[in-house]
C-alpha cells in the first residue's frame, strides 16, 4: 500500500514511571496527506499530544512506525537537517524564553538551524505585523499579555516555513474572540502556503470549522475510534457555524466523545 505524506502505523506508546507502566496509546494508525488540515479531538489523556510529539520526534514510539515524507523514523538514525526543518511545532503554552525579546523568540528556530538571521528579518517583521505584534518586537515576554505571548508562540512555529505544522491546542488559553481571529488567520496561512496541519483541540466546533478531516480518539489507552471527513467546502468562515451540516458534524463527534465519557461513568 502506498504510504501517505505522514503515516502512523500500529503505534503504541507506554510511559514508564518508577512504579507503573502507563499505556498512553495502543495500536493506532493514522495518515495525513500533503497539504491536509486534520484535527485530532478526544478526551483528556487520550494521547493526542503524544501523537504529534512522536511525529515531531520529541518522543519515540514503543511500537510501530512513523513515516514522514518517505522517511521512516529510526531510533538509531537522527533526522537530517532538511527533515528537521520540515517540522514546526506550536505548544499549548506559548513557551517563550524570558531572556529573549519577542523578535528573538520568533527567530529562535532559525538560530538553532544555523540560518542567517538577517535574511529572515523581513519575514519575521511580516509575521509579527500579521498578528499585530510588530510594535512589541523589542519587548520581553514579561512585558506582554498572555494572548500576545500565544500569538508569538504560533508565529515562532511558522518562521522557518515548515511543510508540516503540529499545533497542540494552541489557542486553549485564549478568549473566544481572539481565538476566532487567530483561527481565521490560520486558515488563510494554510491556504496560502499549502502547509500540512495537524491540529489538536478539545473544541469540537473549532475542529469542524478548520479541518478537512477529524480523528476522534478515546482514552485509557488512547485509540482512534473515528476518522470523519468534513465536507463543508473550501471556503471556511465563521458563518458556517450556523449551518445545519456544520451542526450535524459537531453532534456526530460530540456523540462519539459523549459515548466514551458515558462508558467511563458506567
Amino acid at each position: 500500500m502506498e504510504k501517505s505524506y505522514i503515516s502512523i502505523e500500529n503505534v503504541s506508546k507506554v510511559f514508564q514511571t518508577r512504579k507503573h507502566s502507563i499505556a498512553a496509546l495502543k495500536d493506532i494508525s493514522m495518515r495525513f496527506e500533503k497539504g491536509e488540515f486534520v484535527s485530532i479531538v478526544g478526551p483528556s489523556g487520550c494521547g493526542k499530544s503524544t501523537i504529534i510529539r512522536m511525529v515531531d520526534d520529541i518522543i519515540k514510539p514503543t511500537e510501530g512506525s512513523i513515516t514522514v515524507d518517505g522517511f521512516t523514523y529510526d531510533n538509531n538514525v537522527p533526522l537530517s537537517s532538511e527533515q528537521i526543518q520540515k517540522l514546526g511545532f506550536i505548544f499549548q503554552i506559548p513557551n517563550l524564553y524570558p531572556w529573549f525579546t519577542v523578535k528573538e523568540n520568533v527567530m529562535l528556530p532559525l538560530k538553532i538551524y544555523g540560518k542567517d538571521l538577517k535574511e529572515y528579518d523581513e519575514r519575521a517583521n511580516s509575521l509579527l505585523d500579521g498578528v499585530g505584534m510588530l510594535e512589541y518586537a523589542n519587548a520581553y515576554p514579561a512585558e506582554i499579555s498572555g494572548g500576545m505571548s500565544q500569538r508569538i508562540g504560533v508565529i515562532r512555529g511558522m518562521i522557518h516555513s515548515p511543510d508540516i505544522l503540529m499545533m497542540d491546542e494552541p489557542y486553549g488559553a485564549l478568549d473566544e474572540s481572539t481565538r476566532e481571529t487567530l483561527n481565521m488567520e490560520l486558515l488563510k496561512i494554510w491556504k496560502d502556503t499549502g502547509t500540512t496541519i495537524i491540529f489538536i483541540t478539545h473544541n469540537v466546533e473549532e475542529a469542524v470549522l478548520l479541518s478537512e478531516r477529524v480523528y476522534v480518539m478515546e482514552s485509557h489507552p488512547g485509540r482512534v475510534i473515528a476518522d470523519i471527513k468534513i465536507d463543508l467546502g473550501e471556503e471556511r468562515t465563521l458563518d458556517l457555524i450556523g449551518e445545519e451540516r456544520f451542526g450535524e458534524y459537531c453532534t456526530e463527534i460530540e456523540n462519539l466523545i459523549g459515548k466514551i465519557e458515558l462508558a467511563k461513568i458506567k
Partner: protein
C-alpha cells in the same frame, strides 16, 4: 501620584534603601560606644568605635601591604572558584557518569573545614599566597558547583521541550536554554561562595599566614591593640561588602 513620582527618583530610591542600614549601624556604634564608657571597659579589652575610627586612618599606610595581600588572595581565589565550579557543573550536568564520580567528592570537600587542612598544605607548599588561594578555591568552588548543577538539572521541562522540538544540539540547548534558565541558581552559588572565600581566606591567614589582615589581627590581639585589630576587621568587611555588592549589581542586570 506625586508621591509615586517622588519614590521613583534615584535620590529617593537611594534614601529609601541606603538610609535605614546606615542609621542602624550608627545606632549600634553609638550603643557600643556608650556601653564601653558606661561600663568603664578597658580599651585593651574592647576598643571603642571612635578608637577604631582613629586606627583605620592611622594604620592605613602600615596595613596597606596586608590589605592588598588579603584582597588579592580572596579575589583571585574567588574568581577561580567561580570558574572551576561552573565548568565542572556544566560537565556534571551533561555527563551522568561524571556526576556519579564527582558529586560525592565535591560534597565531601564542601563539608571539610579547609582551615584544618591549611597547616598540612603549608608543609608542602610553604606559607605563600598560593596556599591561601588553593584553600579558597577548594572551599568555595563546591558551592558554585552544587548550586549550578541543581539549577541546570532542574531546567524548566517545557522550555527544554522546545529545544528538543527544534532538535538543538547539546551546546545550543545549554547556551540558549539551560544556562539562562538556571542563571539565578548559579548566582545563589556565587553569592554563597563569596562568603566562603572571605571566611577561608582570612582563616588561612590566621592559621598560618605571615602576611594579610588575618595574621595582623592575631598580631594586634597579642599586643592587646584591639582598636587596630578591629580596623583590620573593618577592612575585611569592606571587601566582603564590595564583592557582594558587585555580584548583586551584575545579577540585577538579568531581566528574567
Amino acid at each position: 501620584m506625586e508621591n509615586y513620582a517622588l519614590k521613583n527618583k534615584p535620590i529617593m530610591r537611594l534614601l529609601s534603601t541606603g538610609l535605614p542600614p546606615v542609621v542602624l549601624i550608627i545606632i549600634l556604634l553609638a550603643v557600643w560606644q556608650i556601653a564601653c564608657i558606661a561600663g568603664n571597659i578597658p580599651k585593651w579589652m574592647l576598643a571603642r568605635p571612635t578608637d577604631v575610627g582613629v586606627a583605620l586612618t592611622a594604620d592605613f599606610k602600615e596595613l596597606l601591604p596586608d590589605i592588598l595581600s588579603t584582597y588579592i588572595n580572596i579575589i583571585v581565589g574567588f574568581l577561580l572558584a567561580v570558574a572551576i565550579g561552573l565548568v565542572i557543573a556544566v560537565l556534571i550536568s551533561s555527563f551522568s557518569l561524571l556526576s556519579a564520580a564527582l558529586t560525592p567528592l565535591i560534597i565531601a570537600l564542601c563539608c571539610i573545614p579547609m582551615v584544618t587542612l591549611v597547616p598540612m598544605m603549608m608543609l608542602v607548599l610553604g606559607t605563600g599566597p598560593d596556599v591561601k588561594i588553593i584553600a579558597i578555591i577548594i572551599q568555595a568552588f563546591p558551592l558554585v558547583n552544587l548550586n549550578s548543577v541543581v539549577a541546570f538539572i532542574n531546567v524548566n521541562p517545557e522550555r527544554l521541550e522546545l529545544m528538543k522540538s527544534l532538535k538543538a544540539n547539546k551546546v545550543q540547548t545549554f547556551t540558549q536554554c539551560i544556562f539562562p534558565d538556571g542563571i539565578h541558581g548559579v548566582f545563589t552559588g556565587i553569592r554563597l561562595a563569596s562568603i566562603m572565600a572571605m571566611v577561608t581566606g582570612v582563616a588561612s591567614e590566621i592559621v598560618g599566614g605571615k602576611a594579610g589582615l588575618g595574621s595582623r589581627i592575631i598580631y594586634f590581639i597579642n599586643f592587646s591593640k584591639t582598636a587596630d585589630a578591629f580596623s583590620c576587621i573593618v577592612y575585611i568587611a569592606v571587601l566582603g561588602i564590595l564583592i557582594y555588592g558587585i555580584i548583586s549589581i551584575v545579577e540585577r542586570q538579568i531581566k528574567w
